[in-house]
Symmetry: D2
């Protein structure tokens, strides 16, 4: 997997582009099922980098801010292969008091390969205690919420 | 991740034991979220080996029989770490005409870390066309169905 | 890991850019050792795409042409982190009768993180028999050889 | 990959058993090259657990003791597949002032698939400064050195 992190229009839909590779594929000649949640997670980590200005690594290590996941849900429609770029359209579907719901649709060659939603909660890295989403976080990404 | 595939009592609940390792963990000192679906998939692949006598590799390459996943769903309750073995209790929750629903609960130190259900369908490796579950498959694993 | 595959000057040195991510890191807050050879392999797979026009996936599936590795060698100088892009400078150091030797130096923030060389041989995917490098391959990449 | 960590005779050769799986394989129907160094690393992590009583996770988090790798070297002889267990025979080939050299030979069905040596150095997790191997470490594993 290799992907492209570039500036994005601020319309709330982040398009994450992944080059699926030989390394991602299994003997059925398609990306292994276990890789697909990782593609979606990579999109979310990049979403933070693009929209907040810091990725999970900096958020955790420099701000003691973590977002542990509590729910993962995906429907798989079509096999993913290295023949086309994988474009993951990701949005913040719901911003709760302490939770973030991300919804995504992944396409290759204009066809939906998989879609789903992942929910994570605000926490501190050092204790994993759930916390309300900090004001400085909400201030920078709150306007990106795009409900269903 | 390293796990232990051993003979199991034929009660329909397969216990898959995984040694979570340093390699599975991220800077939050817990198994990375993207590893967790892979743990569940490893349990299912091993379930086939133990109960059917062949793993995905042999089923695909020697029988042209594949089980592509169509739905993944997980709730994450507690972080997974290398401090305890991860025991995944897996059962075949529903055997449809052409689908298999696997349900699992993963525990460390007697506490639930994550649980979920994955759905896959019968297909041929060569064409990915969904097919009814072949009789020789149903004959060997049908008695293992344990509905909710 | 996400990377950027873009057009390259044809000087024989391919620069492969990887976004190292949280997912690549272990509890020591650096990219896990086992990820580093994968970064180098990703660079080589992309080298084929950029210079030959096809990646390993197409070479194997559409041309029955494989390049199984026979030797891996790396020296690790400095930890790799997500704080800077990882730039892998890769060259074809030697083109033998049936072997390819790739040499690489990976840098972050102008400092060498790791370097090494990987050797692979020409083969057919279907049989894994070593073969002389096919003329159509040599014709397209032979001019890129940059000996030590 | 799933493996079996069991008590070992104290002859200095540790046999690490891995169940190679579908998830490890690529479209050439063999374990992906990038998985092989990870198999060897898994053997070394398990070696610490079996012989020292603690794996990398505990050594790092509970003792502030790390062993960053500085050199990786492998020769690949035969493809690795899920058809047979992978048995990695691992020994501590050299114990230096601050370095550990591990040598390994990995076999399936009595044939050598790959072999190599990895070198790591003693350090603290918190600073990555190289240090002399601590006495309490040398005391517990020093007798396991098996030079070439």
């Amino acid at each position: 997997m290799t992907s492209d992190v570039s500036a994005q229009p601020d319309d709330g839909i982040y398009i994450h582009k992944i080059r699926v590779s030989w390394a991602d594929c299994d003997p059925a000649n398609i990306a292994y099922t276990g890789r697909l949640p990782n593609f979606a997670l990579d999109a979310i980590d990049s979403w933070w980098l693009v929209h907040f200005g810091e990725d999970w690594y900096r958020l955790n290590l420099e701000r003691d801010f973590a977002t542990p996941f509590v729910h993962l849900e995906m429907d798989l429609r079509k096999p993913v292969t290295p023949l086309h770029p994988l474009l993951i359209a990701l949005r913040l579907a719901k911003l709760g008091t302490s939770s973030f719901t991300f919804a995504f649709v992944a396409r290759q060659n204009n066809e939906v390969c998989f879609e789903g939603r992942f929910v994570c909660v605000a926490a501190t890295t050092s204790s994993f205690n759930p916390i309300p989403i900090p004001d400085y976080v909400r201030a920078r990404i709150g306007h990106l919420e795009r409900p269903d």
